[in-house]
Each structure stands twice: as C-alpha cells, then as structure tokens.
C-alpha cells in the first residue's frame, strides 16, 4: 500500500513539474482556471495582480464596469500591428475593439517576440508602439532585443524552425519561470485564498510587512508596484533621467519608426502608458517624479506621432487605475481606446480621400 501511495505521489509530482516547465501548457491551464469561479479557479488576477501578490483582504475587489465596443461605421481596411505589453494584450486582444481593423497582430515585448511579417499592401498597415512607462528605459535605452524587433527579412525556412525548436527545448529544461508556474499549479486555487488572506493580514497587522514587490499609497487605499517607486530601479518613476538619456530613447524610437516606414507601414503611432504612481501620487513619499513620458513626447527630435495617454489618464485620475492592479481599469482603457480609434478612423478617411 505504502509503495502504491509513493508511486501516485511520484506520478503527480512528475506531472506537475512537466506542466510547469512548459510555458504553453501553463498558460492554457491558467486561462481555464482564471475563467472558473469554482474552488479550483485562480484568484491570482481575479482581484488585481497586486492583490495576487499581497492577498490583503481590504484590496479584494473584483474589477467592475462594462465595456462598450466602438461605434464606428468606417470600412474594415486596416491591418493593425501592435508592439505591446500587457496593457494591450490583456485588454484588447481582438480586432473587434478597434475601429476599421480587420486583422490584429500583437507582438508581446515581455515575451521578447519580434515582428517579421509580410505586409498586405492592399490594406492600410498601422503599427502601434505601446510601452508601459516602467519598461520604456529598460527596452529603449540599450536593448539588443529592441534594436532588432522589426526584422526586414521575413523568413519561414526549416533552419530557423529547428533553431526555434532547440530554443524551446532549452527553455523547457531550464525554465526561469518554473517557480512562478509551480506556484500557479500547486497553490493558486480559490479554495486556498482565505488561508493566504489570513497569513497576509496577520503579517501586515503584526509586523507591518507586505510583499516586497508592493508598496502602499500614503492614504493606504492604493497598492503600487514597488519597482515603479524604488528610485534605485530603472523602472521607477522617481529615478533621475538625464536629457542625454531622453535623447537616446527618442533616437531608438526614431530608428524603429524609420525601419517600419521602410517596411511599408502607412501609419505608426507611439503610446506610453503611465505608471499608476505617476498619475495618482507623483509626490510619493516626497520623491520627485521624473516626467519621463512628457519629456519624450515633447522632444523636438521625435518623429513618431503619439497618442497622449499621460494627459488622457491624468484627467481621469483615480477612475483610470484599479487600487489593486498595476494596470488601468476598463474605464481608463476605454478613454485611451476612444482616442486611438479616432486616429484610426482618420487614417481610413485620409486613405479614401487620397484614392
């Protein structure tokens, strides 16, 4: 009997380890868990990703608000490509959200994806460069990945496929995210949430400690992602940024812009989504906000037209950001989308005019 139990435990452990080594399998399983409301569903992101880090019950709020699809009567003539992060692919993952868009391709920067596509010249090809403020300097100051994000040679040969397979096998064997994945598969079930909340509340009340990646706002009503505050980090809204650094970032953006133009894109837009702390508490703990976004947008040398997310979200303030998430609320997302859709509709109108 003891041997049989041992074999069962061994089988389960091997299965969990195998699944956790695969990003694809983990992603698929997580999707199922996040959609489920039963005891085995996942609460990690249900109440905001920062709640999923702290489990402080006072921040356990389900994101509310419905989303109105754009009401636009223009013809679907656009192929939209987005070099983007979770602000886009978690919220707008289909063409239905965009005005006049027939096909949507998202290139995720957090997964180091690259844009290598043959453009359909019968369409209006639009490229959106979207970055969250915390990633701007990481990606645009000196990143080889970003320098080669647009590949001019579209290839689909077997050699590169084999290379990809070897790369996948390596990532499977030595997956750097395996601990995060294991946590999803072993601990992330709704049934465990009350225990996690008990631990978090006890530690907060007794020792005033919360997860090291999270910081509380002055009022205590908002959670912020710590790397966006810690001024020793490049992702911080409060680390000093020199003018020459701004020039480097703008030069990187211009290079991408020119490369995309050469590839045949008709319109290219830039949009930098501010860190919640930049909008909600720009004087956090007497720190000085570095105004990274406005300095880039106001640069005389910047060639790329931009969707000014900073002004849009700054006007909406608290309504734009969730108290327990690093991302915007559906309301904040809608404000931005409305402006972007206006630009897309104009692009179609312009094309019709020129034809």
């Amino acid at each position: 009997m003891r041997k049989v139990i041992g074999y069962i435990i061994l089988g389960i452990c091997i299965l969990i380890y195998f699944v956790s080594s695969s990003q694809k399998l983990t992603f698929k399983l997580n999707l199922l868990k996040e959609q489920s409301n039963s005891f085995w569903g996942s609460d990690k992101h249900r109440y905001g990703d920062l709640f999923g880090l702290t489990y402080l019950s006072s921040f356990k709020r389900r994101s509310t608000g419905s989303f109105k699809l754009p009401d636009c009567s223009v013809q679907k003539k656009i192929d939209l490509y987005e070099i983007c992060d979770s602000y886009m692919f978690l919220f707008f993952n289909s063409a239905k959200y965009y005005c006049g868009v027939e096909k949507l391709t998202q290139i995720k920067t957090n997964e180091q994806e690259t844009l290598a596509a043959k453009l359909d010249t019968s369409k209006i090809n639009v490229l959106l460069l979207e970055f969250s403020e915390r990633n701007v300097r990481v990606l645009l100051e000196d990143s080889d990945y970003m320098k080669n994000i647009i590949s001019e040679n579209y290839s689909n040969n077997s050699k590169s496929k084999l290379k990809e397979k070897i790369k996948d096998a390596y990532h499977f064997l030595f997956n750097k995210d395996i601990n995060t994945n294991l946590e999803y598969h072993i601990c992330d079930y709704a049934v465990f949430t009350p225990i996690k909340e008990f631990k978090a509340n006890l530690n907060y009340k007794l020792f005033n400690t919360i997860d090291k990646d999270v910081k509380l706002s002055k009022s205590g009503n908002q959670l912020f992602y710590a790397p966006t505050i810690d001024s020793s980090k490049i992702s911080s809204s409060f680390q000093h940024v020199t003018d020459s650094e701004i020039k480097v970032i703008v030069a990187s953006l211009n290079k991408i812009y020119l490369k995309a133009k050469k590839l045949g894109f008709n319109k290219i837009y830039l949009s930098i989504i501010p860190n919640p702390v930049s909008i909600l508490e720009p004087d956090y703990n007497k720190l000085k906000y570095n105004y990274l976004i406005t300095r880039i947008q106001n640069s005389q040398e910047l060639l790329v037209p931009y969707v000014d997310a900073f002004s849009l979200l700054n006007a909406a303030k608290k309504d734009a950001y969730s108290p327990s998430d690093t991302h915007w609320t559906w309301h904040g997302a809608y404000i931005w989308l409305d402006k972007f859709n206006y630009d897309l509709a104009n692009a179609i109108k312009e094309k019709i005019k020129t034809n």
């Binding site: 435990i9 061994l10 030595f174």
Partner: protein
Amino acid sequence: MLYNSLQFLLFYIIITLLYWYIPNKNRWLLLLLASCYFYMSFVPAYILILGFTICIDYCAGIFLEKTTNHAAKKTLLIISLIANIGVLVFFKYFNFLNHNLDNLLGYTAHHTPFPFLTMLLPIGLSFHTFQAMSYTIEVYRGNYKAEKHFGIYALYVMFYPQLVAGPIERPQNILWQFHKEQQYSFENLKSGLMQMAFGLFKKVVIADRIAQIVDKVYADPRSENGSTLLIVTILYSFQIYCDFSGYSDIGIGAARTMGYKLVNNFNVPYLSKSLSEFWSKWHMSLSTWFRDYLYFPLGGSRVPIPRKYLNLMIVFLISGLWHGANWTFVIWGALHGALLIIEHLKNDCFKKYTFGTRNNRITSILHISGIFFLVTFTWIFFRSPNLHIAKIILQKIFSFSILAQFNYSVATLPLLIFSFALIISLMIKEYYFLVIPTKNTKSFYITFILLLVSVYIFGVFNNTQFIYFQF
C-alpha cells in the same frame, strides 16, 4: 534551484522517491544526473567548469595511486591543485586582483592592461573546489585509495545536497557510502525530514525575516544612528547563522532521507566560551579543511610560538579571502586571526603563571557574551559592501549616537520582539537538542506539521538566495 523554492520541493520528492524505487546499481546514475540538473538550473554553461576539474582530479587520483616515484606524485598533485586553484582564481579573484592592480597603477597615471570579466561567479565554486582538492590530497597522502569509477567520483564532487554550499566533504566520509547499498529506513526518513523542516524554518522564518530589517539598514547606514546599527548588526549575526546552518540542515537532511550521512557543519557556535571553541563549532567542515590541509602542513602549533601565531594569521587571512574577493573579507579574516592570537597569548600566560579561571555560571555567561560580541563586531566587515561603509558603521556605533532611540521605521517593535523571541527560543532549542529527536513517531508527526504550518504562516517567501551561495 534554491532550497527554499517550490522547484526544489518537487525535485527533491521526485528524486528521493525514484531513488528508492530503482535498483541499487542505477542509483549513482540517478543521483549524478539529478545533481547535474540541480547545478545547471542556476547557469547551465557552468557545468563545463565543474566537468573540467572533475576530469583533471579523477585522472590525477588514478595516476597518483599508480605512481611510486615521489617526485612524480608531487608533480601530479601540483597539477591537480593548480587546475583547481586556477579555476578559482580566474573566476573569483581575477577582477579583484585586476582592480587592485588598476588602483596601484593609478599612482603612475596608468591603467590595468587587462579587461575586467563581466561573467557571473559560478555558484558554490569555492565549496566544490575545496572538496575536489581534499580528494587529491588524501590520495596523495595515501589515506584513501583512488576512486576507479568515474561516475562515482563525479558524484562525490557533485552530490546535490552539498554541492553549492557544503558541508565540504572528505572522501573518507562519503565516497564509500556511494558504493554501499542503502537500505530504506523509516528512522532515517523521519530524522532527515525533521532536519530539513527545521532548516527551512531557520531560513525562511528567522533569517529571511531578519534580512528585511538588516538589508534596509545596511543599504544606507549613513542615515541610521548607533543604537539602530548595533541592534541590526546583532540581528545579522543570527541571520547569517540561521541562513547558513539552515542550508546545511536541509542538505544534510535531504541526504539522510536517502541513507547518506554527511558531516555536521554547526554545533551551537554562539554558545562558545572562547574563539577557538567558536571556530570548532562554526562552519566545521571548512575549519577542519583549513586545519588539515593548511595549518598542519605549515607546522601547526608544533613550531616556535611566533611561527605558530604567524601560521594562525596565514590561515585566517586565506579563510577571509576564501569567503569573497573583497578587502572586507580579508579584514574579517585578519581580525579573527588577531583575536585568536590574543586568546592563545592569554592562555599561554595563564599556563605559565598557573592562573586559573573559575568555571561557574556567571563566568560562563560573561565568556559567552564576550565572544558573541567579538564575533558580531567582526561581522560588520563581513556584511558591509566596502571598507568605507564598515568604517561609517563603526564610527556610529562607537559614538554618542549609540544612546539614541532605535529607528522604528526600519522595524516595528512587535517585529523586533518577535525576532528576538525566535532567536532566544532557537538558542534554547539548540542547547538542549542539536537536532529534534524523532524516535517517537506520533510526536514526530505533530512537530513536523507544526513546523510546516509556522513556516507557511511566518515564512518570507521571496526567493532569497542563501548568503553562502556567493562563495
């Protein structure tokens, strides 16, 4: 793969169960493959460095045994030592030496001609290098026969429970165990699991919680007062103890559940009444390594007294350098060396003039406290990133700001009380039981479950590395 991670938990369960389910003849292979995977989970490419030293030392061992010519034997030993120390110097000390050369040349307005290395230090390099060296030295001395089985020899260097932070094993203790057929024993399983659980408790509940306070203060000691720095340095003494002994406990326990007995690494060092006693109870596998392979060959204590003191200083300077390529570690080692010399001088004087010290409870407490504060004082150099910061901390501690109130913004009063309560409980527990007894199965289950629950409730899980991994 950190011991305080879910990856290790699953890895450990899978390997241990597989170990008991497969035939004995294949177990060495399973353990070797598991150890390779364990090491490669940090930086895969560094397995090549380990492979290089394993091949050199394996061949050196075989030839050392075959050769009867003393000069040839010596040459083989030197080749093996150069290969091991060469790897260590290149990866660990090259930048340190280059930086100091650059500073020296700076006086003549010149710069170092060598470029600085940008690669990461292979994890646990000092540990497995020392373990490999002990093998060739023992074979050279004729104390142990060369291992013929390449796989078993590789396993001796790579055995995952002690690969990256010790205990540093000797061939006499562990190699024969890999040849022996291990029999499953419930007693071994219980004691191994209990040692692992308590090691995890020491790491995530005590060390990592204290680390939250220590890291905050040592990140900017200029803005702290003397009393805060003193209390936090005392806390650091326990952080490093719980961190390192916790690691050793998990490693020793994991090996025990598979039937292997590794050497003990700690024996309640903070209850030592002298510095010599402290060093016989702190990181015992390293202390005995230096004793057997450096101090004794230098002549040990069977030489004129000034030479004995010089030998002590050499050993501790090298021990300091072993810990890290930084002047702070050299000073730390030098301080321990100097303090030990003073202790030996004092003992020699007492012997000469037949003075005696009374052994009662009060003198014991005074001795223990004195040694603890001396050791804590030296940790300032060990923890500081550079000598300048160490100097600032010392200036603050030895100034009037020692009378200022503790800065409660770095740690709340309940957190401080909790930390010290845990430390006192730990000392009492370790004084009475070095390892928790597990003979009674019922009490084993209760204690084990209670430990795991408190690890979960009060543990800090943020993938913090073990301090000694950097060495």
